[in-house]
């Protein structure tokens, strides 16, 4: 026995948050492929890169929180299937990483190959290396690749649900914590995952296309469309939250431990503000904002609404992970917790984690031709060049920039 305390700290809060973004952004990226929503095509490549950047760091949260992370390989070698929820993570995550990398390969192989032919120097070699030396450009080959892309995207959506559903399961399965032991955990986590993914893609799309794309233009119809989807997911999320409150707050509807835990922590306890203002309030704010057409079509305001939704989801993770542990199992009162600034389980770790993700995402943006317009332009531009040999040198410089 240790003194009753919070065992799972901030990195574990970041863990479902990041996983949610993965699941959500992958689904948004698949809208055009699986659901035939062609207007979301510009998002397809971008969201794959977002997914990859986040998925690579998904296991860092729990590893940073565990005390012997250097033994991570035990997660692969020990027989823990099927009971241990955390053990399932290893399998789903590994599969997911492979699927995402395969998707990226299929989506980018053709443009990468074409670019490698017109790009001189190490960059051209990098492009060539990224295609794994595959140069086929026949109609049939491209069609086949596209077919696989769609199949993998379908499988990936299934994985997205599994990935996030089981994170809900990690908490839902722990019966020692009354506030976690809740059948709603899974659907709540899945819904909020999709919500956060859409919100993230709205922000990323607005920023990246506004500042870094070829035309430097954000398609407000596309943002509007995403915001409309977000409204529906927001409604489902709010609905689940209300059901959760009905299930946990009134003593008449639940067991003593859950009711008193909910009251001591969320009704008049340390996380009252985080729950009613952070989690629910911001969700309502995002929903209200999203109802206005003017806001939906303005990339800036749509991003503000999405940001509110993202913060609300962060609070939801915090309230779940930390809130559940504030209720003592055998002791009295409520455990108090405030995240540390530095060191184990601190804000510093979470900040570093997000910085790593941003860094990797920027790298991916620089390497992969995610902007179809820019790729077209570059290819067209260089066909022109080969016709005017004398310009070659000066243009090479530009390309090498």
């Amino acid at each position: 026995m240790g003194l009753e305390q919070v065992y799972w700290t901030l990195p574990i809060v970041a863990y479902p948050f990041i996983s949610g973004l993965i699941a959500g952004s992958f689904i948004v990226g698949s809208l055009s492929k699986i659901f035939g929503q062609k207007q979301y095509e510009p998002l397809a490549k971008l969201s794959l890169l977002v997914t990859l950047a986040f998925i690579l760091f998904a296991p860092v949260g729990p590893l940073a929180d565990s005390r012997q992370p250097s033994r991570w390989w035990e997660l692969y070698t020990r027989a823990h299937i099927p009971e241990a929820p955390m053990g399932l993570f290893t399998i789903i995550w590994t599969t997911y990483v492979i699927v995402v990398i395969a998707e990226i390969y299929l989506a980018f192989r053709a443009p990468l190959h074409q670019l490698s032919e017109v790009t001189p120097g190490w960059k051209g070699r990098l492009y060539h290396w990224l295609t794994l030396g595959s140069t086929g450009m026949s109609e049939m080959r491209l069609r086949r690749e596209h077919k696989w892309l769609v199949i993998l995207a379908g499988f990936g959506i299934f994985l997205a649900f599994a990935f996030h559903g089981y994170i809900g399961f990690i908490f839902g399965a722990i019966k020692a914590r009354p506030l976690w032991h809740n059948a709603l955990m899974m659907p709540m986590f899945i819904t909020s995952a999709i919500l956060s993914g859409i919100a993230l893609m709205i922000i990323v799309y607005s920023i990246v296309f506004r500042y870094f794309s070829f035309h430097r233009k954000v398609d407000s119809a596309l943002v509007d469309g995403l915001m409309k989807i977000m409204i529906w997911v927001l409604l489902v999320d709010l609905f689940l939250d209300v059901v959760d409150i009905l299930n946990s707050a009134p003593v008449a509807y639940t067991d003593q431990a859950t009711a008193s835990g909910f009251a001591e922590i969320f009704l008049h306890g340390p996380l009252t503000g985080a729950y009613w203002i952070g989690q629910l309030g911001l969700l309502v704010v995002a929903l209200t904002l999203a109802l206005f057409r003017g806001i939906r079509t303005s990339p800036l305001w749509a991003s503000v609404a999405s940001f509110a939704a993202l913060i609300s989801i962060w609070f939801m993770r915090y309230n779940t992970v930390i809130g559940g542990q504030l209720q003592p199992k055998v002791s009295q009162g409520v455990v108090l917790y405030s995240p540390a600034l530095f060191g184990r389980g601190s804000m510093q770790i979470v900040f570093g984690l997000f910085m790593f993700i941003l860094f990797v995402f920027s790298l991916l943006l620089m390497v992969f031709p995610w902007d179809d317009e820019a790729t077209k332009h570059r290819l067209f531009h260089s066909t022109q060049l080969t016709n005017h040999g004398e310009q070659n040198r000066s243009t090479n410089k530009i390309l090498e920039h």
């Binding site: 305390q5 065992y7 940073a64 020990r78 055998v330 910085m355």
Partner: protein, 344 residues
């Protein structure tokens, strides 16, 4: 779609302007990348390395996380008298004795079924078992494998015939103190074992639930999953730790340390497979209870005279916990107990 992407557009009207803008874009991207890179170099690795440095022995108690010993925040202790000397406290030599040679612990056949019976009528609350366990197993300060919580049953009634006479009236005190020794229940259906992602923790065939300190990744899932708060993360080995029923002693035919030392003989240890053992007889002739039976964990530590789980609710009818080792100084209960003024 891949096919569409690669079509070469024939329109080159804004070609020169676009070259310009692309150059700017690249510059901008580089700039953003640079800023982020620097932030990463400063923020990321420092944090990650700190988090990953599992051998780190000096901890600052800042956030109440599991490896922090919180005792020195206790106002009763003087920080200056060496309580917070981590080199002394977190001495690797102080690991529980089996940690270094866990492989010597036998894998046994279910010949025995070890259980413990705790007769609450006999416990005097002397905490000898707590001390014996700490000393036998080198348990770090702030952690316990067994402990004795104190609860109170009953109430003070105002009555004319009471034997407690005060200026405000006469009272009769119908109060009993219950000392409740607690330890890992070595559940037959242990949730802590089920949730372990690396199966570092397991139930040995003859009863004890053990943690293999060579495999445990210290994820803390089992610590959260135990409904009895019987587990902790050992701040020295950085792995999950708990009562082992003194496995290395019982394998040699000895009793667990807490049983040997119990002055009231409230703790009785034995083999349930043997009908003539004292535990079998006690279970046959007494009503016994287990802690939190509703959890379905099937505990193998049985209590005589336990009136349900002792409540922590503000219910005058309930049995009330009046003292528990599990209380964190960083909790509302402690603040109420100690008074805010002490927590400077």
């Amino acid at each position: 779609m891949a096919e569409d992407d690669v079509h070469v557009e024939q329109n080159n009207a804004r070609q020169m302007g676009n070259q310009e803008s692309r150059r700017e874009f690249l510059k901008q991207a580089l700039k953003v990348g640079g800023v982020v890179g620097i932030a990463t170099v400063i923020g990321g690795p420092v944090g990650a390395v700190k988090a990953l440095a599992s051998t780190e022995t000096k901890q600052n108690a800042t956030d109440g996380s599991a490896t922090n010993w919180e005792g020195w925040e206790d106002p009763q202790l003087n920080v200056n008298d060496g309580w917070n000397n981590w080199d002394k406290i977190l001495n690797p030599d102080n690991l529980p004795i089996y940690h270094d040679h866990f492989d010597e612990i036998k894998k046994v056949k279910p010949k025995h079924h070890w259980v413990m019976v705790i007769d609450l009528r006999k416990c005097v609350g002397c905490q000898s078992c707590t001390v014996a366990c700490k000393s036998e197993n080198n348990i770090p300060i702030g952690y316990y494998r067994t402990w004795v919580d104190v609860a109170e049953i009953g109430s003070t009634l105002q009555t004319s015939l009471g034997n407690t006479v005060t200026a405000n009236g006469t009272y009769e005190q119908q109060i009993k103190i219950r000392n409740i020794p607690k330890l890992c229940n070595h559940c037959d259906n242990p949730p802590c074992v089920t949730v372990c992602p690396v199966k570092a923790t397991f139930k040995r065939a003859d009863g004890p639930v053990l943690v293999d300190p060579r495999l445990c990744i210290g994820c803390g899932t089992c610590v959260n999953a135990c409904p009895y708060d019987a587990r902790y993360i050992n701040p020295i080995s950085h792995t999950a730790d708990k009562c082992t029923l003194c496995v290395e002693r019982i394998d040699e035919g000895l009793l667990p340390a807490c049983v040997t030392t119990c002055v009231g003989r409230a703790r009785i240890f034995g083999d349930l497979n043997d009908p003539t053992s004292e535990v079998s007889k006690l279970l046959a002739s007494n009503p016994v209870q287990v802690r939190k039976p509703e959890m379905g964990t099937d505990p193998q530590v049985f209590y005589i005279g336990l009136n349900g789980e002792i409540s922590t609710e503000n219910d005058p009818e309930a049995e009330n916990l009046i003292y528990t080792y599990t209380m964190n100084t960083n909790s509302t209960a402690y603040q109420q107990l100690a008074g805010k003024s002490l927590l400077k």
